[in-house]
Amino acid sequence: MAVSNSSAPHDHDRVVDVWGPRTPHGRDDRWPSRVDVHLDAGVGPADVQKWVRSACVLCSNGCGCDIAVVDGQMVGIRGRADDLVNKGRLGPKGLYGSTPWASSADRLTTPLIRRDGILVPTDWTTAMDRIVAESQRLLRTKGPLSHGFYTSGQLFAEEYYTLAVIGKAGLGTPHMDGNTRLCTATAAAAFKESFGTDGQPGCYSDIEHCDALFLWGHNMAETQTVLWSRVLDRTHGSEPPVLVCVDPRRTPVAVEALRTGGLHLPVRVGTNLALLNGLLRELFENDLVDHDWVDRHTVGVDDLRKLVDDYPVEKVAAICGLEPDAVRRAARIFGERSAVLSTVLQGFYQSHQATAASVAVNNLHLLRGMIGRPGAGVLQMNGQPTAQNNRECGADGDLPGFRNWDNPDHVRELAELWDVDPMVIPHWADPTHAMQIFGYVADGTINLLWVSATNPAVSMPESARIRSILEKDTCFLVVQDLFLTETAQLADVVLPAAGWGEKTGTFTNASRVVHLSEKAVEPPGQAKPDLDIFLSYAAAMDFRSRSGAPLIGWHTAEEAFDAWRAASAGRPVDYTGLTYDKLRDTSGVAWPVNDTHPDGAARLYSDAVFPSAVDVCETFGHDLLTGAAVTEQEYRALAPDGRAMIKGCVYVPAHEQPSEQFPLLFTTGRTVYQFHTRTKTRRSRPLDAAAPRAWVEMNAEDARDLGITEGDVVVVESPRGRIQVPARIGMITRGSVFAPFHYGSSDADVHEPGGRQGQANELTMTVWDPVSKQPAFKTAACRVRRADPVRPAIEATTAGQSGP
């Protein structure tokens, strides 16, 4: 076992070497362990008084770790060598960003309440009384549809489930969603459309077994560094897989693909589905289809065959700005390798036609029967660490346990479990998605909005619009968070929450692996676990079941987990066999865990039976082009009955095309050093120093045409807003401009502290995918010019892999 990153003072080498040392190995070998540790300056391993079991919450990978504690403070972190997900490794965010925020001087330590326009400290009783009074007044005068809840991808399963019961059985409002809508809704939607329910088919150890790896709009090297080091250990070992990277930017993934003889397809922003339709057609044309498997295990192939006939390679190459031969070669690789693994992320999910393009990736796998066996499968990824739990537990729009709101039996099951009238549970239409929730606040018909652990003022598209919505005096805004974020500053009541390491709960990563994260230290001041906050609201509201008992009978995280287990019983997402004790015993367990799979299941669908039967499925599906719902009757006629559904969609151009006024395409994304809106990562000195401010990336020829050179401060404008940031030249296809989305008004700006000059979402559009309702952050038109007056050039972030 190699031990890296010893904890010498100010040892921040992993900011530069973000993936750490290699442990190369051959195909089908087990991934070796490598334990990464970081302790605060001045703390030696012998000083650590206890190590507390957890998993990292700074991306969707969910790396198993232990938290180092000295004198009631979190002082460092160590990867768990035996963990299913990371075998001891941690990335720069996990190492340097996991704990410094906790002792940050600007933590919220008391509730705040708005008086005479100003937020002032108060106590819990006053704050909660104020919320409850408002909530009850609105229930009396306007009913439950006046309430909306907007959560996160960073709470624990216990918290989501508790909130789901409050919203769906206590209040009865359909207006619940998470910022998971921004990061992972398309993964869920694509699964539901193709297989019948949500649920990741593949697992990370497929990386060890695959002989081709396709990364579709997934800059894994920066979004999930530990997963990428898992890939690098294959590409540096014997019998490496061939990598195919689909990304408009020359990301580290693209560089590695090219280095190892694979393929980079620098697809034009907004044309993913055209490419996929072309690849699907190539499989048919070259007869690279497993006809027998397709006949037995799928429906819909003939319609797809007809639809993609319209996408010959030359046409597709022209639409996507690619070489026809590159498209052909990609199709050959997909069609001829024996074990193909795909990973999909925001390049697809946050573009227009997101669900259609992601479903098309599923289609490729279905045509070849490449699913459910080692090395062959799909990983539709998540952005945030606990996004999966929001989808499972139903604090987003879905019903808990992947239940179908359109299936009366599913609704009845929940009503019996909760002992409430089924009519209370909102199930009359597709649940309200985040963008619509904000639309109802804008219209003045949602009058109480409760935001937990997220910062929509920075992270949602078209920031100026979102700010004006959050400022509306027709809406009582409750914000529950660790810090006074840009969103919290607009609240009527602010509730101080305990963070990771300060509370106990479970969460599930992108590959269905569940971890228990135990409380290591006390939260500061009066800060409370989110679970306790929800429970105290429920108690104060006095929600009751039909028999008159309190609707929510649990008080601790473990009891909440047990309640969630009961709700998952018999569903594909079955947690019934999983307990806190088991999670203390094993580092990472993949659901389902039940009598059939007592130790969890690495892969779903290894028997090629899909959860698509009418009485099992989570949705009857949608028209991928328009989002129109498929009716139960239509679904019965399709009769998938355990088979996967092959569904196609025509390509249509993005909503906003470049014009004379706005000739360039604007796209957003991440940097390896920051997470979300930097609430935690900017409070880590090494991470903040590595990427302290926003920038834009431009193509070299575009920059030359505009007279812009590296480091020049430029103004980027769209029809909705502008930012002013230094330019970095290179790394992106002609005609496109990239900006990281993490930066808000609390960040170091180029020239105006407190301004919003680096906030990428000032430029993005209010528009969303018709099926998953995920906003399209990656397709807008913009123009770029040098700042006027010309500013002295400043160095854009250049540390580590974010360098030019």
Binding site: K142, G143, L145, S146, P174, W428, A429, D430, T432, M435, Q436, G439, Y440, A442, D443, G444, T445, I446, D623, L625, T626, G627, A628, A629, V630, T631, V652, H655, M765, T766, V767, W768, P770
Partner: protein, 156 residues
Amino acid sequence: MPHLTTYLGMALRAEHTLAASLGVVALGHAEQADVHHTCRLLAGMSEAHTQALAPIVHRYLSRDEDDIVEPDRLHAPGLTRARGGQIGLLRDLQDLHVLGTLVQTTWTVLMQGAQGLRDRELLAVATRSNSDTSRQLSWFNTRMKAAAAQALLVAG
């Protein structure tokens, strides 16, 4: 075949009316981003249908030297102005649904005629348009269901 040309004219006019009305709703409810963009998409479908049908209409007209005569009780006026607010959106979607239903039944009638005439070209256009119209109607339904409770119960 005067009645066939009448129905061809009806299809043209009804699709045209639907496309124009979708355009009105797209603009009038532009603050609802999905309504705006989807209505434009659906309007494009209807326009494509009229374009596909136009040469066929021309063929029958030149053969029969008929004029298109539209029976006055079989057309629906389109939307000329969008209504305001959530309840207005609901009403507009209902109107679109009514228009879409007229379009669809017209295509259904033409499909029968095309089969009787063994006019493969017309049959193909009518069948494809008919199925697109189903998608349009499904979307109107889906969107109405999503909007209904909020509009009826909470909107001022």
